[in-house]
Structure formats: structure tokens, C-alpha cells
Amino acid sequence: MVRFMIRKGHDGPARRGFLHFAEERLETPALLGPASSAYSKIQYCTVSALNESTSGFYMCSTGSLFQEGAISYDIKRANMIYLLPSMTGLSAMPSEIGINYVRAQLPAIPGDQSDRSCFAIRIPSNISDSDMHALVELIKASEITVVAFTFNGENGPPDLRNLTLRSMLPRNVLCIALGRIPPSMLPLLYYVGFDVIDFGYAFEAASRNLRLWGLDEEPVGFGSERRYCSCVYCMGTEKESTDPRTLLEKHNASIYAQVLSSAIHFAANGNLRWFVESKTHASPEAASFLRRIDSSLYSFLEEFTPNHVGTKIPFIGTESYYSPTVIRFREFVARRYKPSDDKKLVVLFPCSARKPYSDSKSHRRFSAVLDRILGNKRDAVAETIITSPLGLVPRELERIYPAGYYDIPVTGQWDAEETTIAAEALVTHLSKFDESVVVIAHVSGGYLDVVRQAEVQIRQSIIYTAHEASPTSNTALAALKDTISDLLDIITLLPKRSTLLDTIRATADFMFGEGAGDCLAPSDASVRGKVYGSIICRVSNAQTCLYSGINGRLSLTLEGGKRLASLGRYWVRFDAPQIEGSSIFAVGVSSADTAIRPGDEVIVVDSNDRVLGVGRSEMSGQEMCDFTNGIAVRIRHKEK
């Protein structure tokens, strides 16, 4: 019996896990290659080529679908996965051949073999969506644990189709990527959830005198000067071999090991997406491939993308405009952010390199102006920061991930795409304010272009205070001050200090959706603390939540969980009268809100919707339902 267990995951669908055999376990992600290479964590072979002395993990091909007679296998053999029979050329054929090919593989499993978990089924790229749904049921019913796809490495429609089909599989299936996979494609395949990756191309490339690098390949041996490489094979310091072809093979294989270990490292730090984006410069095809994936597989990628990572997140190329984290932030601000009713003024500011914006020099100067002129009426202003690629960030949300953590190259020049993204966000944002609210655009350059582009769709009147000089210049700051003081003659602002409450309410809405702010921090709530430190929120003397200025997030108390439970969101149903210990496991979860992402605050309820505890999710809601192992929620507070 072979079992796949996911140990740790979640920087996108990428995960680390173990493939458990009877006695040993293979750590994933793992490279799959010929037995001759030390870099092959799992080795490919044919049954006839095996001898008794071989050790390690093996993947054995069982020949062609068309061969006559039963496939040969040796079930007593340890650490072995059998790849079911192959049929090539399918991506150019109608879908019906694909599905029938997959169905024909299952009977190839020998009749006396009740354990099907060591047989890997091959899924061709020409399967239709409806056929794939049927197939998923078949896989669930037949104990298939391992599934293999074949990539041609050209980043074209068949490769994209493979990823779509992969996204439809149950979460706890081990996925193998076979074929011609260049090193630059490896981070992407890991990112979208492949656990075993074939690096056979290292050897094909060597046979064609190509030296592989992380991003490209170099023809060697044609008289041109070789690029410098410090690996032992290229330096000639390796003792085992002097044959140039063997050394080239080893160099190529080592590149795969290097790229994979980097991908694992970045995934652990929450920066895998950045690494994947950096590899899109391998070729125009690779760049368009990621863009196509982002648009067609958004919901799949997003499901595994945590709402909080806690490390700097670089948004560098245009790929990042549509990364799941960015799209989701824009959507949450558009859908979930609701300004409080007493905001009578909206001031638009440019973003700053330093996060949170409030800590930057420029924003301190803006803040000083607002304080000086507005004093205790300052909270009647809805401060809004225009930025790329997040669109805009309300001041109340400036500390939350990714707003408080992103980093972008700043040149002051905006491209048309990011201008449009921000303009659309601004239109949506301002539509939430009353028509009588006045908008002050204290922006210049590209930020100004954003407002100008949005202008025709904005109902409120807009005053530009920095269109002739930099927003931080004395001229502009004076214009801002004069404008507001003029406005004070026309509109009445109520003196009220509500920064803390506004922050809690906006954060609650952002994290838990509409209405959460009302549940956790109604207008009579008592809030104490500092935005940059922490804020404690109490309702009728019972604490509902704690806001942390470090990460801009709320943590719930049991009371908060009970109040929030009525919204019917972010719940995890646990089949027990009470929670024992400090975590609950996926196996005990009977159902869960599919909106839950790894790292979210969640409410654990029993079968009668009684709140048992609150905590932090370790996996997505769907995974909690699908998995039979692993920690689902780390409990923060529970009913005793």
C-alpha cells in the first residue's frame, strides 16, 4: 500500500510531502531520472532491467497499451511505482480517445492485484472537462494515488491543458510531470502542485551538446567560448569521470537539483511565486504561459495562496499584476471594504516605498498637514493610497498582507495596464461614498493619470492639489492645506476620534467579509491601544478580538468567534462535543467553508453549529474536507 501524505504546503498549490511505501518513504518534491544519475531521487526503469541488488525508489514503465498479454510487474518489490501502459500522440487526437485510453489502463492492472495504489495512471492532455470529472470519480473509487502527465516543454496548449486537468484532481493525489521539462519550467510545475518531476531532458540536452542553465541552454563544443561554471563537473575537479559527455550530463542534472532546491526554499519563505515569475524571462512562450495560467487557473492557484505570509513580497514584472495574491487583494478591497458613514472627505495619496505607508517620510508630512488643519476632525477623512499593482489601499488596511509587505520597482512611470487597474479600483472605491463627499487628489505623475482616467466615471467633485508639483513639495502641501481649510467653510465635519474603531471594523470586513465589522466591533465597542502596536476590542466587557499593528490582522477570541458565527463564514465543522488538545486534524473535519485559505482565522463549530473554538487554519477549506491526515486548524481558544 502506497500512501501520499502532504506534510507542509501552501505557497500556491506547491507542497512538500512523503510518499510512504511499506518501509521507506520518499520525500517530495523529488526529481525523477535514470538510475545512472545520483540526482535521481526516484529512478525510472523497466521490469526486465531490474535486478535484485537495486535499491532506492523506482518508477517502472509497463510498456505500450497495445502490447499483447498481461503487463509484467513484481508486486513484492519494495519502493516501486508502476506506470500504466503508454500511448503516444494523443494531444492531436479527439477527446474520446483520451478518455478511453485512460479507462483502458485500469484493466491493465493485473487481476490478482487488489492494491492499486502502486500503479500510476497516465492522463493525456486531450481529455475534456466533463470526461475529467468522470475520471476524478473513477480515481477516487479505484484507490489510484499517483497520476502522471506528459509535458512537451513548449508552454503551448497541451502543456496548459495538463495543468488545467491537474487542477481538477483530488488534492491528495501525487502528481508526476513527465516529458521534456527544461529547468526554467520546473519552479512553475512545482508551484502548480507537481510532486515528482522528470529531469530526463538533462540527458537529452547533453546528447545534443547543450549545457543547461537555470534560464536557458548553451551549445557547447562548437568552437565558441564556454560560459563560466563553478560546478565540479565543469571545473574538472570531480574524480569519478573525465568523459566530457558524462560531465555535461552531470552538470545538466545538477542544474535541476539546484533549481528545485531553490524552489523549495522560496516556497518555505512564501516567495515561490516571485521565483516562478522570475523564470518567465526564459522565453516569450514561458511568459505568456504564466499569464494564461493566471487567467485560466486563478481559482485553483488562489485557493492555496495564504492570506498572510509575513515576509516582503516583491511585485516586479507585469506577471505580478495578475498574481493570485494581488487579484484577491483588489477583489477584497472592492467587495469587502465599506467606508464608515461619517467620512465626508476622501484624500488620495501616492504610495510610498516604505511600508506601512504611515511610516514613510512622505506620509508623515501628509499626516502632519491633516493633523494641523483638521485636529480632532481628522477621522472624517477617508485616506486612500493609490498604488500598483494593488490598485488602492484604504488607510485602515495599510498594514495587512500584502499591502504592508509588498515591494515594487519605483520609477514614477506607470504603464497603461497598471493605470487602468488602479483607475478601475478607484471608480469602484469612490462609488461606495456619498455623492456629496469631496475627493481631493493629492497626487501627481502616474498617480494623477490614474485619477484623470477614472474621472469621467466618478460622481463626486475632485480637487487636484498636487498636479503642478510633487505631492511632498511645500507648494503642494500648502495647496492641500488651503483646499481643506476652504472646504471646511462649506462642509461640516464632526469632531470624532475613530481611527482605532475604523481600523478594526475595516480589517474585520476585509478578513471575514461584509458584516464582520458590525459583529466584532459595533459602534458601542470599546477599543483601546495603538494602530502601530495593538488594539483590544471589547463589547460589553468581553473581548472579541485583538488587532496587531505588526501584521494588520485580527485574532479572534472565543466571544468574537461566537459573534461572527452568525455570518456563516469561515467555519469548520468538527464532529466532536469538544476540542481536545491544541489542534484539530483534517480527518475530524466533516465540512468547512470553501472560502477558507491557509492561515485564515476560523471558527470551529460542532454539528449543531455551536462554537467550539477559534484558531488559525493550516490548509484550505476544501483540503480539510478532502484530506484524511494533517493538521487542519491550530486552536487559539476553545470551549472548556
Partner: protein, 375 residues
Amino acid sequence: MCPDHIVSIQEAIARASMDARQDSIKRRKSKDLSQPAAAWLSTTRIGGTDGTALSIVLATIGCSHARGISGGCTMCSYLLDGSETPPSGEQIIKQFQNAMSKLEKKQAPLSVKLYTSGSFLDPDEVPIPVREEILLLLAKDERVTEVVIESRPDYVTSKSMEALRRALGTRRVEIGIGLESSNDNIRRLCINKGFSKQDFMDATRVARENDIGVRAYVLLKPPFLSEKTALDDALQTVLDCERMGVTTVSVNPVNIQKHTLVERLWHRGEFRPPWLWSLVELLKRARKEIDSNINIICDPVAVGKSRGVHNCGKCDNIIADSIKSFSLSQSVAVLDDLSCDCLLQWEHVIQHEEFSSLVHTDRHKDRLKSLIAKA
């Protein structure tokens, strides 16, 4: 294998094969129906001595299997050599006579190979009285000591074999049948051949009872198979040919013909014609393993071209020449010392293609060329 799924795959492949053919059959150009589609002379071994062979491809209405609703074979569009309007009996005889005129000044022994891009014995292609007339003309020519015809096994009956033997007297007669593969699955699904191994064996038995030899055509690398599986299957087929009483084995590596399913796959990067290394390996191993009285011949089409059996481009000509000389001499030695840098690429394909299920096309060769051009 579960028959239901296999039947579905077979039907879908047959439809796709039909689809690839489109209306190419109807758009066949009208030609001079008194001329054969092709006729050429070559040197050949005839009963132990070198002689001259005349190959004639008669233009007929074309192969019944390719014409019909079955979709035809996945790699073959030879019927496009034929004519949309069927030639009259007189015209077919005229075609034959025109071709035979090439032999006017040739000395015995002569071999005449009568092809039709279909079945010479199919009465829809060559009406029986016309067939009899042609055989009569051949029988009159004393120089002709060997006659080879081609037919699907459907038309190889006691009646047709007895007639053939009667007409040609004591001449050596061989009938070419496209067995392609001795694996029923491969022949049925990958090739859509439309007859079984049993059909072939029955035809062989009937032919041999009439002292007519059987030349089995063995296909190297039908679609949907990896290079390794294709090589193994072709070798197994040759071995089975010996057991089934075949007298000559003709090895045919797949080439990309117009308006075929194979061409479609090839265009989409899902098929590569076999490597010459596979062919060399096959010929060497086959020659070593089967009875030396059975000739193994091979005259590949489009060798060295992207549509034919090919290697890297550097070694193709030398290897093609060696294969030609092997066909004449039957000596494995001429194939022994071949070598080229691309041998390693082929070895990788043999090892990796079956496993990964990925068709290892030459697309990377083009990329390499552009890389080198830049450097």
C-alpha cells in the same frame, strides 16, 4: 485490456483516419489513363544472380480499404496515385504494355513487380479478364523469371492462387501482403489495417499450397507507439513471419504521406518517423535471428528527409547506402561499423520516450540550429 474501451479507441482512430483523408480521393487529378502511375527499373537479386527488376504501379481506382468507409490505413495514401475515374480494361492493359516497353533491351533474368497502390487481385481494381490478359503477356516473355504482385489477404483465395500459378508456369511468384505487425492490437488500432493476423496466416497458407511465396511487409513505427515499442514490435513481427511461412520480409519504415492521420500527428508534433538507428538495429537483429533463406529487404521511401526515416542529417546518406547494400547482400557486416554523434540522442529516445509517453520530435534540432547561428 477491456474490449469496450479498445473498440471505442479503434472507432475513433478510424474516424480520424477518414477525416484526415478528407476529400483527397475525390480531388485526385485526372491523368492519362493509358500510362501507369509509375514504372522504374532497378538491380535486384533474382534466384541467386543479379538481374533487372521492373516495378510497375498501375493506375487503378485504388485500394478498396482506403476507398471505403473504413477510413483506410493511418499512414497510407498510396491510393492517391490512382485515378478517380476508373480506367477501362484496355487502358489498364495499355498501362502495362507501356511500362513493359522499358524492358525491351534488357537481358534475362528479369523480375516484374506489379503494384496497383492497392490489390492487384481485387477485381474492382483490375477486372479478372484484364488480370488474365496481363498474366498471359507476362507468360509469353521468357526472360521474366520472377513475378511479384501485391494484394490484401481478402483476395488471396485458392481460386486466384491456382489461376496465378497456372498462368505463370514454373516462374518464381511472390505475393506481397501488408502484414505490418503481427500484433493484432497494433495492426487493428494503430494502423487501422482492417484484417487480422489469422487472415494473413490463411492467405499465406493458400499461397504456399500453390507454391507461391509470400513477401510480408513489416511496418516500422506505426503511430501511437514509442520508438522502443515500435522497434520491439517490428522485430517480433519479423520473427513471427518466419514461423508463419513467409518467404521474404520487406521492412518499411513509416514515411509521412499526404492526407493521412500520420501526417496530421506529424504536423502537430505528435509523430516522428523512425530513426535510421532503429532501422539498422532491426535489420541487424532480424537477420541474425531468422532463417537465412528468408531474404530481408528494405528500400525506404524519403530516407534522410524529415518525412522519411531519418537521423541527424549528417549520417543519413551513409546509413541509407549501407541499408541498400544490406538488402542486396544480406550481410550484417555492412551495418556493423556505423556510428555518429546522434547515436546518443537515439539511445535517449529509446530509454525515455516509452517511459515519458512523449513523442521526441526534432523541434529541438531547429532550436539548436538557431542557437548555433547566434553563437
